[in-house]
């Protein structure tokens, strides 16, 4: 388990107030809630993009709240994927692997394995700006996986996909997340979607946990 304590953060008219929260260190935890409930703000706090004062996030004995964003060793899939548009799918991934020093032969094997699993062979040499929504999503996910994360955070990873693609994506993402055995935190406003992935669902409302 990782434990969050004394989280209090105000942004605009929203106030995130979480006295205590435990996140599973296995499988997927889903965060749901309506728009404006504070899910994305909470997401950014965990990533380190917002810096509340005097809170605590203990992950496996590591005090994450004190770490800079680049030291938290997290993987991320944003809602808009945020690939580097001028780099190919391959370059997007290899860049992150290098920066996280994940270039061992095992890592390279893992790269080939998940590249096939996520069906990225055809678009492997295509620049980010020319990839379809589904391809971008899978590249962003592979990038997160190969960043040797202690946790993967996904913000509405399926919202940009059409219905047909979504079901295919659910299956692939479930498989991959199960295989890598890294805890994941998924933000979604779709409760049904959340239930597909996990029983651990946390509901946000007005910046607080219900």
């Amino acid at each position: 388990m990782s434990k969050i304590s004394r989280l209090h953060y105000a942004i605009g008219s929203l106030v995130i107030d979480i006295p205590e929260l435990e996140l599973s260190d296995k499988g997927v935890t889903a965060i749901t809630g309506h728009s404006g409930s504070g899910k994305t703000t909470f997401f950014k706090i965990l990533l380190g993009l917002h810096q509340p004062k005097a809170w605590s996030w203990n992950f496996d004995g590591v005090e994450m709240a004190h770490l800079h964003v680049s030291e938290r060793q997290l993987g991320v899939v944003f809602q808009s994927y945020e690939l580097f548009p001028h780099l190919t799918a391959e370059e997007n991934i290899r860049l992150i692997m290098r920066s996280r020093n994940n270039v061992s032969s095992d890592a390279l094997k893992q790269l080939e394995h998940f590249k096939a699993k996520l069906k990225l062979q055809k678009c492997w040499l295509t620049k980010g700006k020319y990839l379809s929504g589904g391809e971008q999503q899978r590249v962003a996910l592979l990038r997160a996986i190969l960043s040797s994360p202690r946790m993967i955070l996904l913000d509405e990873p399926f919202s940009a996909l059409d219905q047909a693609l979504k079901y295919e994506a659910y299956e692939i993402v479930q498989e991959v997340l199960t295989e890598i055995q890294v805890p994941a935190l998924m933000i979604t406003h779709n409760l049904a979607e959340a239930r597909l992935f996990t029983k651990h669902i946390i509901e946000f409302k007005n910046g607080q946990i219900q």
Partner: protein, 487 residues
């Protein structure tokens, strides 16, 4: 929550503050601040400068904003190549603009109207290009929505364009106001009776009364006003965000905006070429001072190289600060008002007789002091804001600044940086006021042309300025072509 590189970013900010405030500091160190100002004179000077500059800036921005949405929809690549010609009035010596405009009027409207007219011709092209750049980076993505939902003109401007581009508009406004404040020749020449403005007041203090303390006080006052104004205005929230694939929205070959803008460019370019052809018919090509010209050209290339090098250092520093997300927006408002102050401060710091490279470095520093922040704010910062979320990803994935600079930032701002470097280089070839004030003894092409113009040889000056422009534009067009591989 300490980031070990954060202190470095503060150090860099400190260095930049020292650098950009150095000219006034040097002057104040050498001369006592003299606030013995004639307030009635100063008030009239400020009033004149203020009225002239605000009207010009407002006119430029309003007309630019009317044209920019249309210009952003144009897809012809030849348009992109012609656009830089709109910068000519702000790059060439003001005497050329004065002659071109005067030749069009039988009865030139002297007074505030005349001053505003000449300033408008000088700055309109620049303001349109800067705002077009910002618009394309920040607003272009809405153009489909605007058409689909048939959003009204008023709503477009009030609800979308102005909020998104507010900071860029303010920047352009301040650049034009400052440029007008710093002009001596235009208000004197075109002002009719109202021939007193702030720069004239500084000129009188320095050249006539030798009162450098007063000049420094006036420059400090101008800088402070601009700084406070810019700082305050910058605190207003920034609304825009998101990446734009600008090519998606380019659908038109020609539209009304293009026609008007080409009319503006054409007016100046035709006027310039008319003067050029007239000059060519009057000069004797066998007696053309070729060796001096070549010497000045090669010296200016050296100056250009050093200027771009200094610019590169400042740019990397600014990019580092941006990457580290250190609050530093106030830096952009270190807009220095007076070439004379900068020139004299350089003269006081550097030896008067020095090796050509030291001389060129002195001027390179001066050119960067005057132009770098303005160009960064106009051309580079909008692109950086556009990729801010990508930099978040880079930070999350532990990319170092170096890796982010090479792999993420540079490929996406390369074009803007090359444009900025090109503009700086063009200033290296046309600048003379700064070089004279700094007491440089090296012959640069701007000085060479100014000497011609100052000694009955206006026609030779015109012809040489054209040759210099052609060489410089050609050189940088080639560089741009070679470096920009794909779109």
């Amino acid at each position: 929550m300490k980031d070990r590189l954060k202190p470095l970013s503060f150090l860099i900010i400190g260095c930049l503050i020292l650098f950009f405030s150095a000219p006034v500091s040097v002057i104040l160190y050498n001369f006592s601040l003299n606030l013995d100002l004639e307030f009635s004179d100063m008030l009239i000077a400020f009033q004149n400068s203020f009225v002239q500059s605000v009207i010009t800036a407002t006119l430029c921005i309003v007309l630019s904003m009317l044209l920019v949405p249309g210009l952003s929809e144009l897809k012809n690549t030849w348009i992109k190549r012609i656009m830089p010609a709109a910068l000519l009035p702000s790059l060439l010596p003001s005497i050329f603009t004065l002659l071109i405009v005067f030749s069009l009027f039988r009865d030139f409207p002297f007074g505030t109207t005349g001053i505003v007219l000449i300033f408008f011709v000088t700055y309109f092209g620049m303001s349109t290009l800067i705002l077009l750049n910002a618009y394309t980076a920040l607003v272009g993505k809405y153009s489909h929505l605007i058409k689909i939902y048939n959003i009204s003109l008023i709503d477009r401007y009030l609800k979308i364009y102005l909020p998104e581009l507010f900071k860029d508009i303010i920047t352009v406004f301040l650049i034009i106001v400052l440029g007008c404040f710093a002009s001596l020749s235009v208000p004197l020449l075109a002002g009719g009776g109202r021939g007193t403005n702030v720069e004239m007041y500084i000129y009188e203090s320095v050249f006539i009364n030798g009162n450098w303390g007063t000049a420094a006080a006036m420059a400090l006052l101008q800088m402070t006003i601009i700084f406070i104004l810019g700082f305050y205005l910058n605190r207003i929230s920034y609304f825009g965000s998101g990446r734009v694939d600008s090519d998606t929205f380019k659908t038109k070959k020609i539209n009304l905006s293009l026609v008007f803008f080409l009319f503006y460019i054409g007016f100046y370019v035709v006027g310039y070429f008319y003067q050029l052809i007239k000059s060519l018919t009057k000069i004797n090509l066998s007696n053309f001072y070729y060796s001096e010209f070549l010497v000045s050209l090669s010296n200016s290339f050296l100056l250009s190289f050093l200027t771009v090098s200094v610019f590169a250092i400042i740019l990397v520093s600014l990019l580092f600060i941006f990457f580290m997300q250190t609050k530093s927006y106030f830096l952009i408002y270190f807009l220095l008002p007076s070439t004379t102050i900068i020139g004299l401060s350089l003269y006081l710091v550097f030896p008067e007789r020095a090796h050509i490279i030291i001389d060129a470095l002195k001027i390179a520093l001066g050119i960067n002091l005057i132009y770098t922040l303005v160009l960064y704010k106009s051309y580079i910062q909008p692109q950086l804001i556009n990729i801010q979320s990508q930099l978040d990803v880079a930070r999350i994935y532990n990319l170092t600044f170096q890796q982010s600079l090479v792999s993420v930032i540079w490929p996406q701002i390369k074009s803007s940086v090359i444009i900025t470097a090109s503009i700086l280089s063009i200033f290296c070839f046309s600048e003379f006021a700064l070089i004279k004030a700094a007491g440089s003894q090296t012959l640069f092409s701007g000085i060479f042309i100014e000497r011609l113009v100052s000694s009955y040889r206006l026609e030779q000056g015109f012809v040489f300025s054209f040759i210099v422009l052609a060489i410089v534009f050609g050189f940088f067009y080639t560089v741009r072509l070679l470096s920009v591989k794909d779109k």
